[in-house]
């Protein structure tokens, strides 16, 4: 008797202590995410409540519909509606909700035992290649991009990278620890004779639990989101709003042995909206933007953010991440030290 009482108490305590994660209903997910297209049939999507649209799709079975929603389809359905952070169960609930809207008009076929493999495979293949190009946001040491070239080139580069990282400890952009991330009353910009200054949170208190980086705030913000150490709001009022992420890479070739630049929309759309850059900073058209490092260093193009709020361009390999063919890359000369 006493044991079972204790168990009840513990469970009750846990319920009080831990937030009970309310799962979003299919209707909620539909309203927030799916309705953008499925309300009006945008891009040929099956409309809510329209039996004619859904009949051929429902005939393939609920399991296949789940796969389409989760993995996307080549016809235009983005995986999870573009909201990769949605749990699978919620996506399925939204599908159920949409099917329920036509259940009188259409009878969904019995769920198949094995989900159709063709559709998800097609979507995966399409995504595989661009993922190779995706730069890894390295934390401490920048990792070389997936190099299809011989190992000798990459290993020698890695060796010099290691020494470059040590050497960079004297770099102006890397101040010694005693001078970085100072609390507001000591940081030279805030007025220490102001009472408000002393009430402000010192940065290190917040940064101690976040993944580190070599420059800027010394915090790897992309990793911080990836590891769910922080979850900044996408909407001012709604803490649960999901970002609309687009996965599209743009490779810009550069002269010389410097690796090519790979610009990933994915990491940027986690934080930003299309309108932040388009068209004021970048024209959304291939060949329409003349970008040079000189411009970036002076605070234009990529330099509007990088070098001011996002990591500064001393982190070359974060962007210059696509190695050229070995035929073009000369053997790197080590620093005369």
């Amino acid at each position: 008797m006493k044991i079972s009482n204790r168990i009840t108490a513990i469970v009750a305590g846990l319920c009080l202590a831990l937030p009970v994660f309310a799962q979003q209903s299919g209707k909620d997910v539909y309203t927030k995410v799916c309705s953008t297209c499925h309300a009006t049939g945008l891009a040929g999507s099956p409309r809510l409540g329209n039996g004619g649209d859904w009949a051929p799709r429902a005939a393939k079975g609920v399991a296949s519909l789940y796969q389409s929603a989760l993995n996307g389809t080549p016809k235009g359905m983005p995986a999870k509606g573009g909201h990769m952070t949605l749990p699978d169960a919620e996506v399925k609930a939204a599908v159920d909700y949409m099917l329920a809207s036509v259940k009188d008009a259409v009878k969904a076929a019995k769920p198949e035992v094995e989900p159709k493999k063709e559709e998800p495979k097609k979507a995966e293949v399409k995504k595989e290649e661009p993922k190779k190009e995706e730069p890894r946001k390295a934390e401490a040491k920048p990792a070389p991009a997936p190099a299809p070239v011989a190992a000798s080139a990459s290993s020698s580069v890695v060796a010099t990278e290691a020494s470059a990282a040590d050497i960079n400890s004297f770099n102006r952009l890397l101040k010694p620890a005693s001078k970085r991330n100072l609390p507001p009353p000591e940081d030279g910009i805030h007025d220490p004779s102001n009472d408000g200054t002393h009430a402000l949170q010192p940065p290190l208190t917040a940064f101690s639990s976040l993944p580190k980086s070599m420059s800027g705030n010394r915090v790897n913000w992309v990793e911080a989101i990836g590891q769910k150490k922080i979850n900044p709001r996408y909407d001012r009022n709604d803490p649960k709003a999901e970002p609309i992420v687009m996965d599209m890479n743009i490779v810009r070739e550069v002269k010389g042995s410097m690796p090519d630049v790979v610009y990933p929309h994915k990491q940027h759309t986690e934080w930003l909206d299309c309108s932040n850059c388009h068209p004021a900073i970048f024209v959304p058209q291939k060949g329409a933007n003349a970008i040079s490092m000189a411009a970036i260093l002076l605070g234009e193009k990529c330099g509007v953010c990088h070098g001011k709020v996002a990591f500064p361009v001393s982190e070359c390999r974060n962007c210059h991440s696509k190695k050229k063919d070995i035929a073009k890359a000369p053997a790197p000369a080590t620093a005369a030290k």
Partner: protein
């Protein structure tokens, strides 16, 4: 049996309470503001705050707004704020810091109310219009891109034209609202068009990789590219190497040697370009940049050439 019901009831209550806590974020949030108000009141700080609030009441942009609006309610509120300010001053002079501090807070609250009553739309309307125009630019840019990408990919024309039609409709509606001065509503309408355009492009472009290859139409173009590259490396020296140069005179001399050579090569290149000999200019610029790269490497920072 009863004991079981009791336990089940307890569990149910706990669940509900837990959800309630989640809903409200019930635990009082600590913040800079709470820390500030919890601190001891310092006389000098309070005096400074007094002065600041005085300025707020009389000479700030908000004060000017109240005066120019001539709204009677706003003026009345502001007078009320002035009264409380006078007594706050009195409390301060009498040495009652606590009272003065809380009265000061009242002054602020009353004054802010006055501002809200003073027709701030005159000041804030410009931003609404600017926001509307910015959003319109974005919608147009995305729409243009969508059309272009759709035709490039040969996407199903029916869906494309439907999407475009929907966006156009929203934009027209928004323009109609904007014309009658309703920029806020216009912006809301544009936001709808914007989401549709965003979703449209996402569905077309998701998973793609585009390559912008380096093709120069002429040597002259390549020359301009090389000038940028040369500029970049000069700036990189400033950004990466400056401090080390200052601390190490020998290094400074070495780097200066490279930099001087680079500058010579660059002026040679510029004169070659003036002669329209861009091929030669490009070659000289490449050499100049190599010198700058050497300078940076000499300082101990490895960058690829």
């Amino acid at each position: 049996m009863e004991k079981f019901i009791l336990k089940a009831g307890l569990l149910a209550v706990a669940l509900v309470a837990g959800q309630g806590l989640v809903a409200q974020g019930a635990i009082a949030q600590e913040s800079a503001a709470t820390r500030l108000s919890a601190g001891k009141i310092d006389k000098d700080q309070l005096l400074f705050n007094m002065e600041s609030v005085g300025k707020l009441l009389e000479s700030s942009s908000a004060a000017r707004q109240i005066e120019s609006s001539k709204a009677p309610e706003a003026m009345a509120r502001r007078d009320r704020a002035r009264e409380i300010y006078k007594s706050a001053r009195a409390s301060f002079n009498a040495g009652d810091l606590e009272k003065a501090n809380s009265q000061l807070a009242e002054v602020r609250a009353a004054f802010f109310e006055a501002v809200r009553l003073a027709a701030p739309e005159e000041v804030t309307a410009k931003k609404l219009e600017a926001d509307y125009r910015a959003r319109l630019d974005s919608v147009n840019a995305l729409l243009g891109a969508y059309r272009r990408v759709a035709s490039e990919k040969g996407s199903a024309s029916k869906t494309v034209s439907e999407t475009v039609a929907q966006i156009d409709k929203s934009v027209a509606e928004a323009a109609r609202l904007a014309q009658s001065g309703k920029y806020k509503e216009g912006r809301t309408e544009l936001d709808r068009a914007y989401l549709v355009a965003k979703a449209g492009i996402s569905s077309l472009r998701s998973g793609d990789t585009l390559v912008r290859s380096l093709n120069f139409a002429s040597k002259e173009e390549e020359y301009h590219y090389e000038i940028d590259r040369n500029d970049t490396h000069q700036m990189l020296i400033k950004v990466l190497v400056e401090e080390k140069r200052a601390g190490n005179p020998m290094l400074d001399q070495q780097v200066q040697g490279f930099v001087t050579k680079a500058k010579e090569l660059r002026s040679a290149a510029e004169s070659a370009a003036a002669r329209r000999d861009h091929a030669q200019a490009v070659k000289l610029l490449e050499e100049s940049t190599v010198e700058l790269v050497r300078a940076i490497r000499n300082a101990g920072i490895y960058i690829p050439g």
